[in-house]
Amino acid sequence: MQEHTLVIKTENDWKALVLQNAKPVIVDFYADWCGPCKVLKPKLHELLAQNQGKWELAIVNVDIEELQKISSQYASQGIPAVYLFHKGEQISTFLGNSEAKAKDMAAKAASL
C-alpha cells in the first residue's frame, strides 16, 4: 500500500509525477506538525488501496524548502489541502480532514 504513494520532493517530481501523470492524481498537502493531516492520511491510503489502480496518491510535505512555491500556491489556506489533478488540470479540491470529501474525490478520480 505505502509503496504506491508518490512522495514529491522537488519541483521536477511535481511536474513529472503529478502534472504529467497519465492517471488522475490525488495530492495531499500535509505537515508533520498538523494533527488533522495525521488523521486524514490513513483514510486516503485506504481509498487508494480500494481503487484498483485507477488513480495515484501523491503527498507533499509543506515544510520542504524546495517546494515552497508550490506549497504557497496550493496550501496557503491551510492543511490538509487535498487536490485532484488530471492531465495537468486541477479538477477539484477540499480543505481539512473530511472522510466524506475524500470519498467523493476518490469516486470522481476513479471515473475519469
Binding site: 508533520d32 506538525w33 515544510d63 515552497q68 504557497s72 489556506q77
Partner: protein, 486 residues
C-alpha cells in the same frame, strides 16, 4: 526624475514588529515586501518566520513554563483527592520539545500564509542596505538579488550576547536561541545571568526535574522592582534552585565526556564544578551589524541600537526602525506589534497617532509569576520623591494553595504605588499565580488614570488572588504587609 521604486515599503525582519507593520501597510493598499532570514546560532540552531517571540522567546518559553507548573500541580492533585498520581514521575523532554517545536512550525506556516494572502512579498533572504532606497538580498545559497523601495523599515530585533572573557565560549555554552530546540534534555544546568530570560529558563528547567544553579553577578531582574525581584529569587531558592551570587564564570572548559567544567571566584576563593550544560543569558545585542547602516547614514548608539525619534524615523528620512533594535524601546512583542501597526497607519493612511509606552503591562514567568504595570518603587522614588508617594503592600496566600501543606503562606505579594497629590496608581505589582491573567485588566484602568480610591471602591471577585489588589490597605513603613488571622 524619480525612478519608480518596486515597493512602497520594504521591511527587514519578520518578527513581531516587522510582520505587524507589513501586514497593516499592505491592508492599507501599499505595495509591501518583507525579508526575514535567520542566521544560525553558533551551535547551528535555526528556525522559521516569525522572529524571536514565536521561535525562541515568548511562545516556547510559556509552553515550557506551563509544562513545569503542571509537574508542581501533582502534589496539589494528591491532596485534592486524586488517586494514583505519581508525584515523582519523570519528565520526557523529547516529547515536550517535539510538541513545542511543532506548534512553532504551525505558527511559521501561518505567518507565511498571512503574508501571501495579505499580498506581502516574502523573501527568505538576508537583507543589506546598498543605499537609502536599495536593498541587497542574499539567499542561503549565496545568490543575490537587488530591490528598490520608497520606504524601508528595519525591524531586525536582537540576538543573545556572550561574555567576552572566555575563549571559545560560543561553542561551549547554549543560549535561549538553542534551548528551545535542544533535542535532548540539557541535564544539570548552570544558568549564567539574572535577567528574566535567565530566571524563567532556570525556573522551568528546575521545574521539570533538572538540577539547576543560577550564577548572578549582582542583582536580579535589573530594571524591575527590586523588592519583588528578591522575593522571586527567595521563592526559587526555597524550591531548590541554587543561586551563586556575586560572580561570573572565570573559565568554562569541555571535559572528556563533553560536560562543562566551570570555574568562578568569590572573595579570592576559587570554586569549580561540572555541569552538563551552561546556558548564558546575560543580555541581548541589537542585530544591526551587517546591515551596512553606517554607510547609509543611519545613526546608532555604541551598542548597535538604532536612534529614532518618537515617530520611529531614523536619521535617514525614508528609513524607519521599530522593536528591539531601537534604543529606548521596551523589548516586548506587543509594543513592537502596536508600534508597527501605528507606523503603517501614519505612512499609508495619513494617521498621526504615535506609539505610547506608558503603563505597558508585562509579566515575568518565573516559578512564582510577576505581573507589573508602571513604576517600580525605585523609579517612583527617583522620579517623584519618597515623600510624594505612598506604597501599599500585602502578603497573601492563594486559596488553592491550602491543599498541599508545603505551599508558602508568605510568598505571594501585591504592591500598589500611589502618587499623593492626585492619588493616581502609578505602579502595580502582583507576585503570585496566573500573574499575566491577573495583571492585564488593571493596565486598562491605569491608562485611564485610576486612583487608589477607585481601586478601593471596586468590589473584588471572591475567592481569587486578584481581589487582593482592590483590598490592599496596609501602608509600607506603617503597617505590616501580612494580615493577621483570616
Amino acid at each position: 526624475m524619480d525612478v519608480e521604486k518596486q515597493y512602497d515599503l520594504f521591511v527587514i525582519g519578520g518578527g513581531s514588529g516587522g510582520l505587524a507593520c507589513a501586514k497593516q501597510a499592505a491592508k492599507l493598499g501599499a505595495k509591501v515586501a518583507l525579508a526575514d532570514f535567520v542566521k544560525p546560532s553558533p551551535l547551528g540552531t535555526k528556525w522559521g518566520l516569525g522572529g524571536t517571540c514565536v521561535n525562541v522567546g515568548c511562545i516556547p518559553k510559556k509552553l515550557m513554563h506551563f509544562a513545569a507548573t503542571l509537574g508542581e500541580l501533582r502534589h496539589d492533585q494528591v491532596e485534592a483527592g486524586w488517586v494514583d498520581t505519581q508525584v515523582d514521575s519523570k519528565h520526557n523532554w523529547e516529547k515536550m520539545v517535539e510538541n513545542v517545536n511543532n506548534h512553532i512550525r504551525k505558527l511559521n506556516f501561518g505567518y507565511k500564509n498571512q503574508l501571501m494572502r495579505g499580498d506581502v512579498k516574502y523573501y527568505n533572504k538576508l537583507a543589506e542596505l546598498i543605499d537609502a532606497n536599495t536593498i541587497k538580498l542574499t539567499d542561503n545559497k549565496g545568490q543575490i538579488e537587488t530591490v528598490t523601495a520608497k520606504n524601508i523599515l528595519i525591524a531586525v530585533g536582537g540576538r543573545p550576547s556572550y561574555p567576552d572573557n572566555i575563549p571559545n565560549i560560543q561553542k561551549l555554552v547554549i543560549t535561549s536561541d538553542d534551548l528551545f530546540w535542544l533535542q535532548e534534555n540539557p541535564g544539570k544546568t548552570l544558568v549564567v545571568g539574572a535577567s528574566y530570560v535567565a530566571l524563567e529558563c532556570g525556573g522551568f528547567l528546575h521545574g521539570i526535574g533538572n538540577e539547576v544553579a543560577i550564577m548572578v553577578r549582582s542583582i536580579l531582574l535589573r530594571g524591575f522592582d527590586q523588592e519583588i525581584a528578591e522575593k522571586i529569587g527567595l521563592y526559587m531558592e526555597e524550591k531548590g534552585i541554587r543561586f551563586i551570587r556575586g560572580c561570573v564564570p572565570d573559565m568554562i572548559e569541555a571535559t572528556e565526556d563533553n560536560k562543562r567544567k566551570v570555574t568562578w571566584i568569590i572573595n579570592g576563593q576559587k570554586y569549580e564544578e561540572i555541569f552538563d550544560t551552561v546556558l548564558v543569558a546575560t543580555g541581548r545585542v541589537s542585530d544591526t551589524q551587517k546591515l551596512n547602516l553606517e554607510k547609509v547614514g543611519v545613526n546608532m548608539n555604541k551598542n548597535g541600537k538604532i536612534l529614532c525619534s518618537a515617530d520611529d524615523k531614523t536619521s535617514v528620512p525614508n528609513i524607519f526602525a521599530i522593536g528591539d533594535c531601537v534604543e529606548g524601546r521596551p523589548e516586548l512583542t506587543p509594543t513592537a506589534i502596536k508600534c508597527g501597526q501605528l507606523l503603517a497607519n501614519r505612512l499609508f493612511n495619513k494617521a498621526t497617532e504615535l506609539m505610547s509606552y506608558e503603563f505597558v503591562a508585562t509579566t515575568v514567568f518565573t516559578p512564582l509569576e510577576y505581573g507589573c504595570i508602571g513604576y517600580s518603587e525605585e523609579d517612583a522614588i527617583k522620579k517623584f520623591g519618597e515623600d510624594k508617594i505612598t506604597v501599599y503592600h500585602s502578603i497573601f496566600k492563594p486559596l488553592e494553595w491550602n491543599y498541599f501543606e508545603m505551599h508558602s503562606g508568605e510568598s505571594c505579594f501585591a504592591k500598589l504605588i500611589v502618587l499623593n497629590d492626585n492619588r493616581r496608581v502609578i505602579g502595580f505589582h502582583y507576585l503570585g499565580p496566573h500573574a499575566g491573567e491577573v495583571t492585564q485588566g488593571y493596565a486598562v484602568a491605569m491608562k485611564m488614570g485610576v486612583t487608589k480610591e477607585q481601586f478601593d471602591s471596586t468590589v473584588g471577585i471572591h475567592p481569587t488572588c486578584s481581589e487582593e489588589l482592590v483590598q490592599v490597605t496596609a501602608v509600607k513603613g506603617i503597617d505590616e504587609a501580612q494580615k493577621e488571622g483570616c
